[in-house]
Symmetry: C2
Subunit: 245 residues, 2 copies
DNA sequence: CGGCTACTTGACCGGTATCAATGTTAGTGG
DNA sequence: CCACTAACATTGATACCGGTCAAGTAGCCG
């Protein structure tokens, strides 16, 4: 099987059949490249594509009066982006490339076919989307009810934990290619204050930084500070329909 | 057919086949009553039920150290609560009755069977969960990036717009049976500040209040202040798999 | 009537935003 | 290789929004 990002991602939750893996691989036939900072999709534009990230980072965000904006989700290799446009004809958010990245567009008919042919994968996508929703719940709680320092800690942990899905459990450092302004847009803070909080986290010896790389020194301390709950650890796939053989 | 809450809800989005409707009807169990303030489900508890609200208000919330908490979603009649427990064995949030209310519990194992037998319904649930996610996106943006007054305005508008679905488009006043502390838990504010902002909205003649009833005086002004986007436009289900019959 | 609970009001404080200046790094063209 | 530039990161000074604390008021229900 040619390397399919989405298959690699899903197989962390479930042992895929040969059939399923190749159906997924077929979704990724026409990769498209975007440059750092390039806008992939725009709020309000008619959208009948989803994207699977093959490489690079992207994020979805809502912007207000042109200045303020809120980053909603960071999207990593293997993630399925733009799923909100499944429910609406129009995109509800902007998609922007954080780094140069390669995406595999996938149109709604293809997804539909997947739902028909591979119910088990459909159910798995549903489960994953619930997990994402729960993690949005946690972000809402974090932004609504905790301090700037805790929010930054929560963001860092979320990135770390999600990277571990692809890179192994002993990962303790991540290259974060976002500007501090972007981190602020994700956490609801100003860039200046992001900077100060990162410094405080370093001073508290919870993390250390070199260039864009963040090294997690005291994960337990960070988890406590952020009141972080790792939701991906609890995903339950035992109830899914059986493989179709 | 005895009135099935969930079939009624889903048929707002899609014409159900006879087969599908009766499969849904089989999921239903006896309605259950809860009193104002009663906890319906608890964070971390094993959860194998979903609920459809037949009457009353409820909300889901996460609580932290016992004091602080964040209300995630307000749930009104017709809403499906507890879907995150489909993906996890355990509830990720608390469910509490705002008013006395009547709920229809749905059996989770039976819902699993539904995924196997009726992929189209599974896809529909997927779509609905995406729509909910988009509305969470808006709340995240509101809480992350706007002022206290705007957040209150956004909450009021959201309640109003969702009530209109059931009570008609010319509705301009809503009875809100929440305490100001609960409004604070929904918007990430303290009860004291909620009070001040409500008074400011009144002083600005955007709303007026009598007891718990809020009268929307200047909807355009509120929408502008909150930068509110009404997402409850038609959900697009045109791409779903065809009925199986 | 008393004792809740929720709402209201005022005084004050602190965390975060804002504004502004400086330092640092990467890229670009000569 | 260096000068120039443009982002981005860092630092400091100050302002303000919303939090905290505390006291008082108004309903409501026994």
């Amino acid at each position: 099987m040619a390397d399919s990002c989405i298959a690699a991602r899903l197989s962390h939750f479930l042992a895929l059949t040969e059939e399923e893996a190749s159906a997924l691989a077929r979704l990724e036939e026409n990769p498209r490249d975007y440059r750092r900072g390039e806008m992939i999709g725009e709020q309000g534009a008619p959208a009948d594509e989803l994207f699977i990230i093959r490489s690079g980072w992207a994020y979805s965000h809502i912007s207000f009066d042109g200045e303020r904006r809120q980053i909603l989700r960071l999207e990593f290799p293997g993630d399925l982006m733009g799923t909100s446009s499944i429910a609406f004809g129009k995109a509800s958010d902007n998609l922007t490339a954080v780094t140069d990245c390669t995406l595999c567009p996938l149109d709604r008919p293809a997804l539909r076919q997947l739902f028909i042919d591979h119910c088990r994968l459909a159910a798995l996508l549903f489960v994953i989307s619930q997990a994402e929703r729960v993690s949005m719940d946690d972000r809402l709680a974090s932004i609504g009810r905790s301090s700037a320092k805790s929010r930054i800690a929560a963001l860092l942990l979320d990135i770390l934990v999600r990277f571990r899905i692809m890179h192994g459990e002993d990962l303790d450092r991540v290259e974060i290619p976002m500007t501090q302004e972007e981190i602020g847009d994700a956490t609801g803070l100003t860039p200046v204050h992001v900077n100060r909080m990162l410094q405080e986290l370093s001073r508290d010896e919870l993390i250390s930084r070199k260039k864009n790389e963040v090294h997690i020194l005291d994960e337990v301390g960070l988890v406590e500070l952020a009141e972080y709950i790792n939701r991906y650890a609890d995903v339950d796939t035992s109830w899914l329909p059986p493989p179709e053989a």
